[in-house]
């Protein structure tokens, strides 16, 4: 059975390590915060100027001066720090963020990502995505394997305007965990009950299938 978006978030939470500074993009990536393993501590960065993003506030503690990059009201935690946007992107470009998780419209087998523009249809802008993908050491994409029309989002080449070149390391979808390796999608894990054939059929780019492809473990 393919995963829902909560399970994709849950699987990616397994990639977090104690002490990580992490930037979570809008959409599925935001959900990962709900599945951080209890035994580790990670610091969430919100690129509008906060390290140590806490949970949503209670109704009486809503503060219009405290939002995340998705413009949702949030809270600070003990040990949080606030700063300006230049400093925020300084720490991003400076390579201080251990893990960045982003959504995407397309990923290519060489690790290119497209997630900011559909020519003639959607003009919203790249926000901080181009800065994040240009510098992060470790980028995971969280997305559905195919789009609403059923077309593959894992391609030999991106067709949409790209956000960054050769930057994605790993992709977690509703069907599989893939790594970018030698300009190919290396199949690492499959969603419980999903066959290798299904994954290959849903992937337009080149897939490499090792001898053993375990099912994902969701903690």
């Amino acid at each position: 059975m393919s995963l829902n978006k909560f399970q994709i978030a849950q699987r990616i939470a397994n990639e977090l390590k104690d002490g990580f500074y992490v930037n979570l993009g809008i959409g599925i990536p935001t959900l990962i915060a709900n599945y951080i393993p209890k035994q580790i501590s990670v610091v969430l960065q919100s690129e509008n100027g906060l390290l140590g993003m806490g949970p949503f506030p209670s109704k009486e503690n809503v503060d219009p001066d405290l939002i995340n990059a998705g413009k949702e009201t949030i809270t600070t935690l003990d040990g949080s720090a606030l700063f300006n946007s230049a400093e925020s992107f300084g720490m991003i470009r400076g390579g201080r963020i251990d893990l960045t998780v982003l959504g995407a419209m397309e990923v290519s087998q060489s690790g290119d990502i497209a997630n900011w523009k559909i020519p003639g249809k959607m003009v919203k802008g790249m926000g901080g995505a181009m800065d994040l993908v240009a510098s992060a050491q470790n980028i995971i994409v969280a997305m559905m394997h195919t789009n609403k029309k059923g077309e593959s989002k894992l391609l030999s080449q991106c067709t949409l305007p790209i956000t960054g070149l050769k930057c994605v390391k790993k992709i977690v979808t509703n069907l599989a965990v893939m790594e970018i390796s030698n300009n190919q999608f290396l199949l690492k894990e499959r969603a419980p009950g999903v066959s290798i054939k299904e994954i290959i059929n849903a992937t337009e780019g080149k897939v490499v299938v090792p001898d053993h492809v375990p099912e994902m473990i969701l903690n």
């Binding site: 300006n84 992107f89 802008g125 901080g128």
Partner: protein, 229 residues
């Protein structure tokens, strides 16, 4: 020396048509709402606005779009605004979209006497078209330039009569860099206090950058997405 103005209308007396104006804020958080209202009332047109976002349909920079005062927007993210999208698709509005970190750094460079700088953000994308690139240590970078901005409209939490500013929460965002970058920087604050009341250790924007300051008449502080537990 007197930097204190009675209100927003008086503080923007010399804003002219076709001016370039930086406006602080991220989404609707930390936007100079009183200055925006005064500018709508004053009615200048042909404006170039440099701001991370373009407000929403009926608040923030969205108000200036509605009245068609804006000729060009320079932003990183402009979703959440139907009127903006309509004007853009009808070619009524020029838009330059740039990566958020590059926007912040271009503001910083403007205020810090740095005409241009190299950044990795946007290499290999549409953003790089027509820009100089250079390789450092085997990695490619883009040359990005400082802005030229007539005014900077800033919102801070507290300010003193000298123009020293302190921001609150994530309402800081682009305000400190933009404060350094306007030929004339106008700050609106929630609390205007006498000199000596702010701890010099805690100042985010030193007074040298601020030409005019006033206490905002009222703050709506609209929230785009109220999320609670």
């Amino acid at each position: 020396m007197n930097k204190v103005y009675e209100n927003a209308e008086k503080a923007i007396f010399d804003v002219m048509d076709n001016a370039t104006i930086m406006l602080g804020g991220f989404g609707l958080c930390g936007i100079p709402e009183n200055l925006i209202s005064a500018l709508v009332k004053k009615g200048n047109t042909g404006l170039t606005c440099i701001s991370n976002n373009a407000g929403v349909d009926n608040f923030g920079i969205g108000l200036l779009l509605k009245t068609k005062q804006v000729k060009k927007m320079i932003s990183s993210y402009v979703g959440e605004n139907a009127e903006f999208e309509r004007q853009l698709l009808n070619n009524e509005l020029e838009v330059e979209l740039i990566p958020q970190g590059t926007l912040a750094e271009r503001c910083r460079a403007t205020g810090a006497g740095i005409p241009a700088f190299y950044t990795p953000s946007g290499v290999g994308t549409e953003v790089a078209e027509g820009k100089e690139t250079r390789v450092f240590n085997g990695k490619k970078y883009l040359l990005e330039k400082a802005f030229d901005s007539d005014f900077a409209f800033i919102k801070a939490w507290k300010g003193d009569r000298m123009g020293n500013l302190i921001y609150k929460g994530t309402a800081r965002n682009f305000n400190p860099m933009m404060a350094t970058a306007g030929k004339i920087t106008i700050a609106e604050v929630e609390h205007l206090v006498p000199n000596g009341e702010l701890d010099p250790n805690q100042i985010h924007t030193p007074s040298i950058y601020v030409n005019r300051i006033f206490e905002g008449e009222k703050y709506e502080k609209r929230i785009e997405k109220i999320t609670t537990q």
